[in-house]
């Protein structure tokens, strides 16, 4: 009893030692080598990186003198990485304790301790989800989560403007947020753009969604011959990369473009579809062009959904004397909406953050009542103007954090309350 306890306790001190003493040599060695690797990392760079996270550099470099200073931004990144590694090693350590307790229990019950291969096989089978999700989660953590944490933290620094490497960046707490809400120009612009952005996202999502549904319904009609042929046209539109289409449309609507050419031939005055006075004209063109680009995908999706729908329902409905419209609103729509809530959310967010449309159609305009933005710019375009065009990374990050909070709350609430999330197994 006592010796077992000591063996187990060994793993509390040195990860894997207990397993090793219990005879699980390979597993124990693996645990221990992870520990060794981590300690080596910690003493070579780990501690430095963690300290760098707080100081963000103390020595300013001077490329003219060839002195290498601290690069605050790299230090921030490596600091985050160091803490992520620390967290994961702690979790690993806890799993080691759980594992050694399991082994202890087995020994207590007098059962043989499984060898390395056997326990590996068991693990792969019993915890298949861990094995399967290992790479996806690791990839997402490294290339999606880490950048997001990085950007969120940037919102609390004075990075940007004159303060770019080799100058040292510092933590400034909520300074950027205070600035956003204290400067009237910025606040007004933010609210104005937010309002338009919400209108845009709702309109664009609705238009794309119902446009796709309409097309799918049309193609689904019994009387339509050669469905593959008709479906080919939207797919052609899908195959051309979006930015090329957008540049093409920009040209078409420009003063020297074909539409104005025909207007002039007909003796009419040219129309500034996208120029400085365009306002709602440009907004509507943006909506339509965006629909042109997005409807093919939503058509494909809707086609799929409809082909899965039970035709008997329709037959029963038409026997009941339900009209076309009633069939659509009472049967088709609820079914489709139920099936596509997650897609709808993704599409809403995609449209909310739709950078390309107005960047390509109408970029580079700063209108009078806006701070570094125009009346068609969405929040994400404004973000781009702030952080990329004018180098205000800190402010840009703060704005993006605010947008992020808004969009995620909306979509999370919708998603969690949707039947697609609550009753996943309905159709199993």
């Amino acid at each position: 009893m006592n010796s077992r306890n000591i063996k187990t306790k060994c793993s509390y001190v040195i990860m894997g030692l207990g397993q090793f003493l219990y005879g699980q040599r390979i597993k124990g060695m693996l645990y221990m080598s992870v520990l060794a690797l981590y300690l080596w990392y910690l003493f070579t760079v780990g501690f430095g990186d963690m300290a760098g996270f707080f100081t963000l550099g103390t020595v300013e470099g001077d490329p003219w003198l060839g002195t290498k200073g601290d690069d605050s931004i790299i230090m921030l990144l490596r600091g985050i990485l160091a803490f992520l590694i620390l967290i994961s090693v702690i979790v690993f350590y806890l799993s080691n304790i759980k594992d050694v307790k399991n082994t202890e229990k087995l020994v207590e019950q007098g059962k043989p301790v499984p060898g390395f291969l056997a326990s590996l096989m068991l693990f792969v089978d019993k915890k298949f989800y861990v094995v399967a999700l290992f790479l996806p989660v690791a990839g997402v953590a490294l290339f999606n989560v880490l950048p997001i944490i990085f950007m969120i933290l940037i919102a609390f620094t004075n990075y940007g403007g004159d303060i770019v490497p080799p100058k040292l960046v510092d933590w400034i707490g909520f300074g950027n947020f205070i600035q956003i809400f204290s400067l009237s120009g910025i606040k007004d612009t933010f609210l104005k753009i937010l309002r338009w952005n919400v209108i845009w996202a709702v309109c664009a999502t609705t238009l794309n969604y119902f446009g796709g549904l309409f097309l799918a319904l049309l193609l689904n009609k019994k009387c339509v011959r050669g469905k593959t042929f008709w479906r080919a046209f939207p797919i052609l539109a899908y195959a051309v990369p979006g930015f090329i289409t957008l540049l093409g449309f920009k040209f078409m609507f420009s003063y020297g473009g074909p539409i104005n050419y025909y207007l002039k031939v007909m003796g009419l005055a040219p129309v500034g579809f996208l120029d400085i006075d365009a306002g709602w004209k440009a907004r509507i063109i943006g909506l339509l062009v965006n629909a042109w680009i997005s409807i093919p995908t939503s058509m494909l999706l809707a086609t799929g959904i409809l082909s899965n729908m039970n035709n008997e329902l329709y037959e029963a409905a038409s026997l009941d004397g339900a009209g076309r419209w009633k069939q659509f609103t009472k049967l088709t729509l609820p079914f489709v909406v139920f099936s596509t809530t997650p897609t709808l959310i993704t599409s809403f967010v995609g449209n909310f953050n739709n950078f390309g449309v107005f960047y390509f159609l109408r970029g580079g305009l700063y209108l009078d009542d806006y701070f570094l933005a125009s009346d068609t710019d969405l929040l994400i375009n404004w973000l781009y103007n702030l952080s990329i065009d004018n180098n205000y990374y800190g402010i840009g990050a703060a704005v993006s954090l605010i947008i992020f909070v808004i969009t995620s709350v909306i979509s999370l609430v919708t998603y969690v309350n949707s039947s697609a999330f609550k009753k996943e197994d309905t159709f199993r």
């Binding site: 930015f243 042109w292 959310i345 994400i380 990050a397």
Partner: protein
Amino acid sequence: MKKERLSEAVVTHIVLILVSFIFFFPVLWLVLASFSASGSIYDYDGFFPKSYSLGTYLKLFTDTQMYDYPSWLRNTLFVAVFSCVLSTVLVILTAYTMSRFRFKMRKPLMKTTLVLSMFPSFMGMTAVYLIMINFNLINNLWSLILVYSAGAPMGYLVQKGYFDTISNSIYEAARIDGASNPVIFWKVTMPLSKPILVYTALTSFAWPWSDFILPNLLLKNRDLWTVAVGLTHLGETEFSRFAAGAIFIAVPIVILYFSLSGFLVAGVSDGAVKQ
């Protein structure tokens, strides 16, 4: 009754022709532009070039000193093929696992992925760039493949919906036969998921063809560019070349679509229903 049907069919087809025209016309215009003899879009009468020639396509593949289109095409193909394979594996694994297994972290993970996908992606680009510098992967096509495939599992919802429709009884039967989970995934699930595999592969293949933000950031050498980056750097008067380059990107995607369209519609439908 019959007359009514006929008139309905006529109306439907008229609407279809109209819709097809709306989708087809800009594409047609792009194709015509690529055959324009002068190279500039401003020598047109309205939508149509004044004269046509094959010159642009010739130039696209032979005049490679400044704009090396053939090697852009090779690079893009390389990136597209590998990220297609890797992304598909990762997405399918994620979707299958999220659909089939119940574990403590599952719902939190699902919510987290949703929230993560809300983040405006270009704001994280600086960090991606710095990570790649730390990995010494700048000017390396693998950096693109890594980022594309690592981000792919975030879009697992459609695929998960598909797996949600596969009845549990199939798995339980296999389980009773003594198959382990990896075996079930390989022997039972895979054969059942051809349509969704095709759909996933297709969409992840198409993405690198049109993305230009990431490659522009990670690839500094001109001969390593992908087609999308190269096209955005074409001179302002080279519209025909731009159009011709764009057509060439679209062709493989369209061909793939048609050869696989049967699978595709089935795949999407089965997936979407039960998301």
